[in-house]
Amino acid sequence: MYCLRTENLTKLYSNNGIEIPALKNVDLRVKRGEFVSLVGPSGSGKTTLLNLIGGLDMPTAGKVFIDDRDITGMSERQRSDLRLASIGFVFQEFNLIPVLSARENVEYVMLLQGVSPGEAQQRAVETLAAVGLQGLENRRPNQLSGGQQQRVAVARAIATGPSIVLADEPTANLDSETGHNLVDAMRRLNDELGITFLLSTHDPMVMDSTTRVIRMRDGALLEEV
């Protein structure tokens, strides 16, 4: 059972009338419970692929299936609802809503899902504890270190019980120890809770932590390592 599947996924960017292929006929399958890293040089199409999988951008051709539902034919609102229900995101930096505390950032997505405020608060505290942030729940993003902010983003990404968490170079702006700890935390969530992760990275240390490594170059998938 694949929680993520793409078929012939292609994305062309138009620049002054010249079409530049960012992604070429990508066929990718990720099974539930996998911990996958996507590696490749800058400009190889990692971010474009993650954006298309998350429904943040639309492909020029091809399809994306999340839990066997084709998201490329969905309306903007349907894709919003799908992201809320099935996809967690962690970006490189500045992931959090700055006017909300760590706990409120995690609560935000649950409240959008219609979870009661009391339950959302309790689950947010538990999830923050699971990524090692107990005691920092009421801090605003600007009162947290970069690593702590990324942990809040991970906690928020898993709080809704998604089918897959997409992380676009989550450790790129962290020192190696902090990055290592963050990946460890994700790895633990994968082991203990069976949450599926797909993360892009340049970092060999991150690659080593994942169970599967997919290489990309010039918008295409190369071999799997």
Binding site: L56, R77, R83, L112
Partner: protein
């Protein structure tokens, strides 16, 4: 809703300088509107007050059917009883009987058509200060008999001065021509061009003699404590006098042109309101767009998390609601304070009192007055303007492509 309201509130408190500038724009625009409303109301109130005191009164009671043909036989016969009943009504400041008839005013050399007003000299000067308006000669003496006051323009036309003999001619109630000799006691200047050129004032008993009216008068004039109570008091009067054979008219029915002028002036006030609000809305639009652009990445993140476009619209509009409510409250307070400050001394327009003469000024000082209904209209308009100005920024925020928005830093 509570979630987005909380985020909206924190968003507007996070850039305090920008919020302060936006609020200042809304509040000062609204305060300007309220002050202008106050001045305009004050001007109208003063105008009405002045006009009713020299022309008609706030409310006038006629005998039923009198006005159709101006038949003096149908005038009010029991005026003392009527006056006594009207004086005790709440909100009534003064009641005075008058006779109005058209007639001819002549000296030995000249003559002119005039409106002849017969009055109770004591009551009349109480309502319009006629005694102080005498510029040449003097007011009626006590127990005056066959004394007449003329407007200064009329006196000029007749080339008449105090002490001069004046003959009044009218068609009397019995159909005969009534003519009596009077002596010019004084010349008045009411400040109303038409009255100063056409009005001749005599004592009530002399008027009744002249027009063979026995003890009748053509009307009872009421002055009220407040011009805002005209409709209520007229209603109370209608109840009090029901079935007694009287007709009750309000000042705006007797001076429809004055009412129209006020209506026109109100139109200009509302045009000014719209102009001010357009300027304010452009300011709000500008700051909201700036705030949206600065938060492009934030909106991208929110969209990535599964926030629907409609929820982004709601968030931005809620920020506008917070700004609109705060701005409206501050604007109302500021407007009332400025109005109160101006109202304490009034605004003296005597420098331009030539213009005021046209509309019969007794006092060329304007006191801004605040009508709560109008403040509510202005505050609501300012609030809705803020909301309207936020629609475009809200739509822009909702239309951002999440992928592009997240790329922007």
């Amino acid at each position: 809703m509570a979630l987005f309201l909380r985020i909206a509130w924190r968003n507007i408190t996070r850039n305090q300088r920008r919020t302060f500038i936006t609020l200042a724009a809304i509040a000062s625009g609204l305060a300007a509107i309220i002050v202008f409303f106050g001045l305009s109301n004050g001007f109208h109130d003063q105008w009405i007050t002045n006009s009713v005191r020299v022309y008609t009164g706030h409310i006038v009671v006629f005998a039923e059917n009198y006005r159709d043909e101006r038949n003096l036989n149908r005038a009010i016969s029991d005026v003392d009883d009527l006056t006594a009943r009207l004086e005790v009504l709440p909100g009534v400041e003064a009641v005075t009987p008058r006779i109005h008839i058209n007639g001819l005013v002549s000296t030995a050399r000249n003559s002119a058509v005039a409106v002849i007003r017969a009055v109770d000299p004591v009551r009349e000067t109480q309502i319009n200060g006629l005694r102080e308006r005498i510029t040449i000669g003097s007011y009626f003496e006590a127990d005056a008999h066959r004394q007449i006051l003329l407007g200064y323009k009329m006196a000029e036309r007749l080339n008449a001065g105090p002490g001069e003999k004046i003959v009044l001619m009218v068609q009397a109630a019995d159909g005969s021509i009534g003519a009596e000799l009077f002596r010019l006691q004084g010349i008045f200047r009411l400040g109303a061009v038409d009255l100063d050129g056409s009005l001749a004032i005599i004592g009530l008993a002399d008027g009744q003699d002249l027009a063979a009216m026995d003890n009748k008068v053509t009307e009872a004039v009421l002055i009220l404590d407040s011009p805002n109570d005209v409709a209520t008091t007229a209603g109370a009067l209608a109840t009090e006098l029901a079935g007694s054979g009287y007709e009750i008219l309000q000042w705006d029915e007797l001076m429809p042109q004055a009412k129209e002028m006020i209506g026109l002036s109100n139109v200009f006030t509302y045009i000014l309101l719209v102009i001010i609000l357009i300027v304010v809305s452009l300011g709000i639009l500008n700051t909201m767009l700036m705030s949206i652009m600065e938060r492009t990445r934030e909106f991208g993140i929110m969209r990535a998390l599964g926030t629907r476009p409609a929820q982004i619209v709601r968030l931005v509009l809620l920020e506008a609601v917070c700004l609109g409510v705060l701005g409206a409250v501050l604007g109302v307070i500021l407007g009332i304070v400025i109005n109160g400050f101006l109202g304490a001394g009034g605004i003296d327009l005597s420098r331009w009192s030539g213009a005021m003469d046209l509309i019969s000024s007794l006092k060329p000082i304007i006191y801004p007055t605040i009508h709560p209904g109008r403040i509510a209209i202005a505050a609501l308009a300012a609030f809705l303007t803020t909301l309207l100005a936020a629609i475009y920024p809200a739509a822009r925020a909702a239309r951002l492509s999440p992928a592009d928005a997240i790329r922007s830093l």
